[in-house]
């Protein structure tokens, strides 16, 4: 069973569901607080987590990848040919000399490290037009969320509740916007990209944050 709606327009039905669901300890709910607190906390926690993720992601994309690759056009010496080669971000950064992780990979490394810590929440970067097909929407809620943030141009997040396996989750989807030329150049030019007409400021996908409900 899945329910979702935009952040600004969530209605009584959705509120009732969230209020009924007790937050897990990992979502930051204070024990002993009133019934209305847990639901609000889940949304607030998701918003706060996303604020950090978005800030870090934007900083890495703009100030590291875009600055070094696009603006400064840094050159690296190839250790084998001894010739200068432009610094670039590469999907194969681990096995290639002088390359940076792609911003999406940087984001995923953080997400996987958090999941390994069992920090009480998970997050992922997904898209309706993913370069890596593992990052396309799988659940109904992800599809709804990605559609919503794409059509409202990222003006409001999408919130909902979904059940995956035996566990219910408070799921929040936030727009992922092209913040630098590096984003659109890479996606528009990538051999596996299903969409090649991105412009700066376009919604390219969404950050999905999940908080388990009702205990884990």
């Amino acid at each position: 069973m899945e329910h979702g709606c935009s952040g600004r327009k969530y209605g009584k039905v959705w509120m009732a569901m969230i209020l009924a669901a007790s937050c897990s300890a990992g979502s930051g709910c204070a024990s002993g607080s009133g019934d209305a607190e847990p639901a609000l906390k889940a949304k607030q926690v998701a918003d706060m987590l996303h604020a950090v993720m978005e800030a870090d992601r934007t900083a890495y994309t703009r100030e590291v990848v875009n600055r070094l690759v696009k603006e400064q056009k840094v050159q690296m010496m190839d250790p084998q040919t001894k010739e200068a080669a432009p610094l670039r971000a590469s999907e194969q950064w681990k096995s290639e000399h002088g390359t940076l992780p792609l911003p999406a990979q940087m984001f995923r490394m953080g997400a996987e490290a958090v999941a390994e810590k069992k920090a009480g929440f998970t997050y992922a970067l997904l898209s309706k037009w993913p370069v890596n097909k593992q990052n396309k929407a799988k659940t109904e809620m992800e599809m709804q969320g990605l559609d919503r943030v794409a059509t409202n141009a990222g003006k409001a997040p999408f919130y909902g509740v979904e059940k995956l396996g035996d566990q219910s989750y408070f799921t929040a989807v936030y727009a992922d916007v092209a913040v630098a030329p590096a984003c659109i150049d890479c996606h528009n030019g990538h051999k596996d990209s299903p969409r090649t007409d991105f412009k700066l400021g376009d919604v390219m996908g969404g950050v999905v944050i999940r908080l388990p409900l009702g205990g884990v």
Binding site: H97, G98, E112, E116, T139, K191, P212
Partner: protein, 436 residues
């Protein structure tokens, strides 16, 4: 009276069985307790049950990673457990729980164990990737078990098989114009000589000093006391590999991670040739594996270690076919000065390759875990083969088991299509961008 003797007999029998089982429990021979033959990867340490099992006889959750974590990290594992911790992958986990090693690798199941110790049927990729044809029309209609058996994909390590790497190496010739393996970094300081020997005259042996003087140790200014310490007359061999490890910790780390040193790594006596499942030479019977098995003290002839060190023991068909093989001929040419340095290919060149710790970093040590790039053999592509050969040629060569057994005498009878498909995709992209 009969009853009395029966009791005595029963008691003696019980004591005998008890003593037998007790000895088996505390000794190294534990086959009576094994639920089934241990796989090739782990049989050497089967006597050390606690390496994998808890006191309750369960498999410890991190037992596998205690030995294999670094290898998987270095391989940029394509299916790390962390990828499957996200609840959005719950449906994938229902099909194949990739969070656990023992989903695919169950020990003591010889009848179910396939290559790489995998105990699932060979079509395990299909469990999750059955829609691959939607994105890759070239893959429509392929056999479900062909993903990893056709030489195209591995579950963990795809560093030498990913599309970007294939595309970078498109159109290369069979042998590259500058076919050279990475060279070892040599000590550049002024070497020590016989005059510098720091042991008393009465314990010096002229032949040993002469050997040492020609060794890398003398070149690196490692004097007698460097290994013998304060007791120059005492052989450091009495204390095992200790003196070696003090300086060669990286090599030792690799040695202990592979089949040569894994017994020592878990606290068992060193591997002996008669314990090997692979075919060994008769003359090597009784030999123990330690640093000096390949690097005799004082001699330190790395060229000898790189071939003879292997062939003195290994007698499988691939090893026996080395002498006179194309790789051996190239090595002979290099040793005789007819070919440039780095163009010859010793056993160790492929099996203990000189690899940089980071891409592009200088090569400081040889990988002493000879299993690191051995299985699946495509792992050898990136660390070894592409230094000298075109990638397409090398992929085909490694895919032909018969050619491998013949130590690459002749040409591959197999052709792996992955390079063709990447080329086709590249051309299609070029056509599309031209149209635009």
């Amino acid at each position: 009276m009969v009853v009395k003797w029966s009791w005595i007999g029963l008691s003696l029998c019980t004591m005998g069985v008890g003593t037998f089982l007790s000895n088996r429990l505390t000794g190294e021979e534990k086959s009576v307790y094994l639920p089934g033959e241990t796989s090739h990867g782990h049989y050497q340490i089967e006597a050390k049950c606690e390496s994998c099992h808890t006191e309750r006889n369960e498999v410890a959750s991190d037992a596998c990673l205690a030995c294999h974590r670094q290898e998987l990290e270095d391989a940029d594992d394509s299916h790390p457990p962390s990828k499957f911790l996200d609840p959005r992958n719950a449906s994938l986990i229902e099909r194949l729980d990739a969070r656990r090693c023992d989903t695919c690798h169950v020990e003591h199941r010889p009848m179910l164990t396939n290559a790489m110790g995998v105990t699932l049927p060979d079509d395990y990729c299909y469990y999750c990737h059955q829609d691959v044809g939607d994105e890759r029309p070239s893959h429509v209609g392929l056999e479900h078990d062909s993903c990893q058996s056709a030489g195209c994909h591995n579950f963990h390590d795809n560093r030498g098989l990913n599309e970007d790497f294939l595309e970078q190496h498109m159109g290369e010739p069979t042998t590259l114009p500058r076919a050279r393996l990475p060279l070892r970094v040599r000590a550049t300081r002024s070497p020590l000589s016989a005059a510098d020997v720091d042991v008393p005259v009465e314990v010096r042996a002229a032949a040993i000093v002469a050997e040492w003087e020609r060794s890398a140790h003398a070149r690196a200014r490692v004097n007698c006391s460097g290994c013998h310490g304060e007791k120059p007359g005492v052989s450091p061999s009495a204390t095992g590999d200790g003196p070696c490890i003090e300086c060669h910790s990286k090599q030792s780390e690799g040695f202990r991670a592979g089949h040569h040193g894994m017994r020592v790594a878990v606290g068992l006596p060193a591997m002996r040739t008669e314990q090997a499942r692979l075919k060994m030479t008769e003359r090597s019977a009784g030999r123990e594996l330690n640093c000096r098995s390949c690097h005799p003290a004082h001699e330190h002839d790395l060229e000898r270690a790189a071939v003879d060190g292997c062939l003195e023991c290994h007698a499988d068909s691939h090893s026996l076919a080395y002498r006179g093989s194309p790789h051996d001929l190239a090595r002979q040419a290099e040793l005789e000065g007819r070919a440039p340095e780095g163009s010859g290919v010793a056993c160790a060149a492929c099996h203990l390759p000189r690899v940089a710790q980071q891409p592009g970093a200088p090569v400081l040590v040889a990988q002493h875990n000879q299993n690191d790039n051995l299985r699946p053999n495509e792992k050898m592509l990136r660390s070894v083969c592409v230094h000298c050969h075109g990638l397409g040629f090398a992929i085909d060569a490694l895919a032909d088991a018969s050619l491998v057994r013949r130590n690459f005498r002749g040409r591959s009878a197999r052709h792996v299509q992955s390079m063709d498909w990447v080329e086709r995709r590249r051309k299609a992209r070029a056509t599309r961008s031209g149209d635009e």
